[in-house]
Amino acid sequence: MNLDFTSEQDMLRDTVSRFLANECPYDRVKELEETAEGYSPELWQKMAELGWLGLLFPEEYEGYEGQFIDMIIIQEEIGKAVFPNPLFSTVIQCGSIILEGGSEEQKKELLGQIAEGSLIMALAQYEEDGSYLSSGIKMPAEADGDRYILNGTKMFVMDANISDKLIVAANIKDKGLSLLLVDAKDTGITITKIPTIGKDNTCEVIFKDVRVAKENIIGSPGNGLEILEKINAKAAVAKAAEMVGSCKACIDITIDYAKQREQYGKPIGGFQVIQHYMANMLLAYDTSYNYLYRVACMVDEGEDFTAEASALKACLNENYKFVSERAVQIHGGIGTTREGDIGLFYRKAKSCEYICGDTDFHYENLIDKILSANPI
């Protein structure tokens, strides 16, 4: 057992933290939220130069062979800064799918471009009824000679509006769920941003007779489910890391405020009612934080972490909402304003809840996994 970070990991955290504090303070986050792109291409390039985009990829694909835990550290720091950027959709979701199921050619071509910051990607899986289940994916991929034809609507596709390519989950007749690599600029594709509480790049993507060459399948026809379930679990852990970081920021910001803000001639942080709120917030954070790294270690060690990924994401769905809500309450009036920073977290907590599965979905998944591990 060794629960310490390596000195390289400490350095990585420090670098990410300083970079984001300098380049994207909370005022800049609010500005980016108002733009159509919802991210900064300039900062995206810098992230590529710092090596974060290729961190998880093997060396032969322009990567750095980092551990999953390294990415968790980056995600945690991104969460502290509530930094809007397409790393999650491009690297953690799509990059991991390509690495997991892609052909040698796809890996060579796409992972290198992701690593150098010239390719942004989005994962289109959910549809109009809002199901998280693979059975909710109804879109057909109709075979037509050496192509598939896509028709239908994908919903809640993060960063589709800024993507060059999409990975689309669709059903091939007699084969099942499959993952297709689609050019986002195809004339048959219409992408529209959906207004959400997260003020992020959540999009609707409509496909009308979109033709995809058969070689643009990731993996083989019908193995999309296997890849998707594995990557969704991994992505849930990475999203949870971001949420853990956000909880920490909420707590630090609120502690500072509670020490400075005076009422009745005393800092409000001295009042026990505030102290007990803060104690509960710290408890929620410390339990989440330590469990996060336990699960991240399982990922790196190649253990089955699917039950734990669900437990972790469900935990953070609840804890991030709890911590950010209490943080706003302790801030009083200023906490409810656009000017104040803490409201950012309250909104993001809600939007993070839906990414990679809400609480009910993960409770259900967790119990399924526990039951299959403990038959009567």
């Binding site: 057992m1 060794n2 990991q9 005393k266 942080g269 001295g270 509960n280 710290l282």
Partner: protein, 400 residues
Amino acid sequence: MDFKLSEEQQALKQEFEDFFKREMENAPLDYQNRSPLEAMYGSDEGWEFHKSMKKKLAEKGWLTMAWPKEYGGREAPVIEQLIFSEVQSYYRAPGLDGFGVKMFAPTLMLYATDEQKERLLPPIAKGEVQYCQGWSEPNAGSDLASLKTVAIKEGDHYVINGQKVWTTAAHRADHIFLLARTNPSQKRSSGLSVFNIEMNTPGIEVRPIEYMNGVHIYNEIYFTDVKVPVEERIGPENEGWKLTRATMNFERSGVGSFAEARRSFEELLKYVQTTKRDGKALIENQIVRQKLAKLYIGIETGRALAYKTAWLQEKGSLTFSAAAASEGKVFGTELRQQVANFATEIMGLYGQVEHSKWAHLNGVMIDGYQMSPGSNIAAGSSEIQRNIIAWVGCGLPRFN
């Protein structure tokens, strides 16, 4: 970073597991269906079982594994202590007199005379005596320093008058370590001293406090002109307060709560898989599934925190572990309460049934439901723990 136990630690864990699994087969009927304090101190059979287990743990050297070598311990690393606590708690096994081994012994090692150490430490190490803790009074609970019991020096002895309350196991204990006011003109934490007193000393009267379910764990103790020789005072006169702060590097992650909760979770899981209501197994009920998911998350996140707490304690990071110990205590006791509450809700009408032929899971859950408020109050209430978390963990100011 990795959470895996080393081969040595794994072997140690296996040894603990084999031992407790085997020994608990000899537990009195119903022993494991009661919460730990009740099982140990609430019945004569349970008490005898606790005593025999204590001796066995002493023989194995496990009772005092954390003690310094000069006192017969082996200064076991915190992680090894954690593994021990986890296994012992999972098996609901008795055998540890925490008052003697973990509270009074460190005080003796730091402050007692050589004569006192030689006389008092070996019986604790051998598991031959039971201590109780004479701190709380009717008007001195969380605010311990306001205590009023007096010990007035008269020649070669002290005369003690006053009352202690909520004293766990006083009716079973051989000795009490008492905090009393030796200088009544001094206030609060000044003018206090610590005494080692035999419970059969004339003038000591123990009266049971029945817990809400009728169980006898807690007591009141009345001291009326109790004469205690000067040699039984530990440490300097009037400086007893600092003795109450004496601790050793005992594991204090609260891992036991999470292990206990895990055991209950496993029992509950089997129960909902095998129990039918309205023609369906309980596990098919959505609400039941959600409750189980919440418990699992509480248990696993709490356990991760406990491991981290032990790890940092091992490395000497005391500031963190002070707040984290409070976090483990409050999170662990409230989680156990939630386990009992959810379990008795899931059982429906049968949730209310105590140990009897009608009881489900032998009544262990309704027992936990009743005993858990006591755990949220004893050994530093949840409110005090939250104050400490806010002061130490968040660095918030402390008024008064």
